[in-house]
Symmetry: C2
DNA sequence: CTTTCTTATTACGGAGCCGTAATTATTTTC
DNA sequence: GAAAATAATTACGGCTCCGTAATAAGAAAG
């Protein structure tokens, strides 16, 4: 359990957002970030339908986010051979690195919060 | 000082993003959020030029963000009477409430991070 | 007081995301 | 095996954001 008072939380959020803005890395939309983190932190398999239900958004939102993040190299699609209607979304090395850096960045900023 | 390991940071970020997506509240872009937090957490006065320099973005970005967040009622513009070229950006009750809720939300999610 | 500088805004063409509805491909049901 | 159901994508019109360049208003310098 992490103890973080509301004021500290805002301060951390502020620093993290500023770092994101200054950073060269592409900054994803809130939805894209939520999707990416779900793919990487929740256990697979991940499908378009499952992600849409989990985030409570429509499926085209997921499809488009996967298009964008696929171009960035953060995720990869693969057909489910057992039911070829499904698309299984998979992690990539680049996506892992991106999120790893993000985690380190937030962690560092947390250390600066008084 | 807040201790938050990279893995915990990602988990917190995930939960906060998910909560934001589920929430009815309008979700701002990364830049808008960074601007809003700077206005509320850094000491005034805040000007378009100052914010642009602080975030390292062009001035139209600030102007547009202020337009959008002004419509949402989160910030207010006021002419600087001492130098009428300047616009002073001010906080509002609604903006305070929005950020207060955000702080509480993140704080609560932090408590759930193992 | 006219020129120059500074601050902020608007204009404009381009790009991305949104939600709804239509489309394609595959599986299940009868 | 034809019809219905399911999964994902594409199409479309609308809205917002972007960066650059032009504009408007005010202050400072000469």
């Amino acid at each position: 359990m992490v103890i973080l008072k509301p004021g500290q939380a805002l301060s951390l959020w502020h620093k993290a957002m500023l770092a994101q803005v200054h950073d060269d890395a592409p900054d994803l939309t809130t939805r894209q970030m939520a999707i990416l983190l779900t793919i990487y932190l929740d256990p697979p398999p991940h499908t378009v339908r499952g992600l849409a239900a989990h985030l409570n958004v429509t499926k085209p939102v997921i499809t488009r986010a996967l298009d964008t993040m696929g171009i960035l190299g953060f995720v990869r699609r693969r057909r489910d051979e057992r039911d070829r209607r499904n698309v299984l979304i998979q992690r990539t090395v680049q996506g892992s690195e991106y999120l790893e850096n993000l985690g380190i960045l937030i962690s560092q900023e947390a250390g600066k919060v008084t």
